[in-house]
Amino acid sequence: MTTWHVILAASILVVGLKVLGHLMPAGPLEGPRPRRILELVTVSLLSALVAVQTLADGTSLVVDARVPAVLLAVVLYRLRVPFLVVVVAAATVAALLRRFAGWA
């Protein structure tokens, strides 16, 4: 499977899910339980992605310059700093720690 295949297959699925919401009968997703599960699935997947993006190097766990960068990001989001500023700040901290402090 090439990268293009991945992009096309995933795009068709994601757009298909959007179309489904405009065409399917409302019944199966009505009620608090399906809605709660869907909202929590989003939280779950994003949290797992944070953990893996911060700690994984292939299939091993490492603590490197990403950890302080992500901790800084959490503090900045808490202070309601805009998304783009936080992302740039996190990148800058990781880059500086690697260049001047010898972090991995």
Binding site: L40, S44, Q53, V87
Partner: protein
């Protein structure tokens, strides 16, 4: 001039839609740069924003690709994050009134922001204005900034030297942050992060993220830590505590 035909609520929907669109489109720069840093080329990066057009799914796909995950894992991650758009479609279609040729664009533009701005408006006409202004505004802005970000990322080259791997993690924190308002969501977030991290050495790249979703399904099904049965004893015996043990 259409000005005198717009009601105050429609004008407010325009303003809100445009401001949300501008703020959201700015993320496109980080997506473009991170996507190229993950190994996709500029065309592939732009194709994702043009075709998929769902920020969370796009970030997830390039994140799994960057981590060396299998193609099926990357596709599954993007699709699972796209499921919430189905729910948004159900929420907006009663007042959106999209029929025939407008249905496909309406579906493609059904994302977090267009749904949120639409639902926030007080009457049906303003809701439609809010949805379309936000959706079209983000579509145009997101694709333009994706291209800019991809070109910048292409010039930067080395991912780690510029801290772009840390930027990817920080981007996911930003997508997650507004969803952690309830105690139940926060508990699911912590438990999912722990499950995914613990499984990293045991499973192929990308798979731990998918397994962590089981936490959400179990907690969502049983409504652990949720209203109206929330109590302090749940916190000690809930999924959070068990996954850590």
């Amino acid at each position: 001039m259409t000005r005198e035909r717009r009601s105050p609520t429609e004008r407010q929907a325009w303003r809100q839609g445009l401001s949300v669109a501008i703020a959201t489109a700015a993320y496109g720069i980080s997506f473009g740069a991170l996507s190229v840093a993950s190994g996709l080329d500029v065309w592939q990066t732009c194709a994702l924003s043009l075709l998929m057009f769902s920020g969370g799914s796009q970030f997830a796909l390039v994140g799994v690709v960057a981590g060396g995950g299998a193609p099926a894992t990357a596709i599954a991650s993007a699709a699972i994050l796209g499921v919430r758009n189905t729910l948004y479609g159900l929420s907006v279609r009663p007042w959106l009134g999209a029929h025939g040729a407008t249905r496909l664009p309406a579906a493609i533009l059904t994302i977090d922001e267009s749904t949120a701005v639409g639902l926030a408006q007080p009457d049906e006409r303003a809701r439609r204005v809010g949805f379309w202004v936000t959706g079209i505004g983000i579509y145009l802005g997101w694709n333009a900034t994706t291209l800019v970000g991809a070109l910048v990322g292409d010039v930067l080259g080395d991912v780690r030297m510029w801290g772009l791997d840390a930027a990817a993690a920080a981007a996911f924190v930003g997508l997650l942050w507004p969803r952690l308002a309830s105690r139940q969501a926060a508990a699911v977030g912590v438990a999912s992060a722990v499950v995914a991290a613990v499984l990293v050495p045991a499973l192929p790249a990308g798979v731990p993220v998918l397994v962590a979703v089981v936490v959400a399904i179990v907690v969502g099904w049983t409504n652990w830590l949720g209203r109206p049965t929330a109590s302090t004893t749940d916190a000690a015996t809930g999924p959070d505590a068990q996954e850590r043990a």
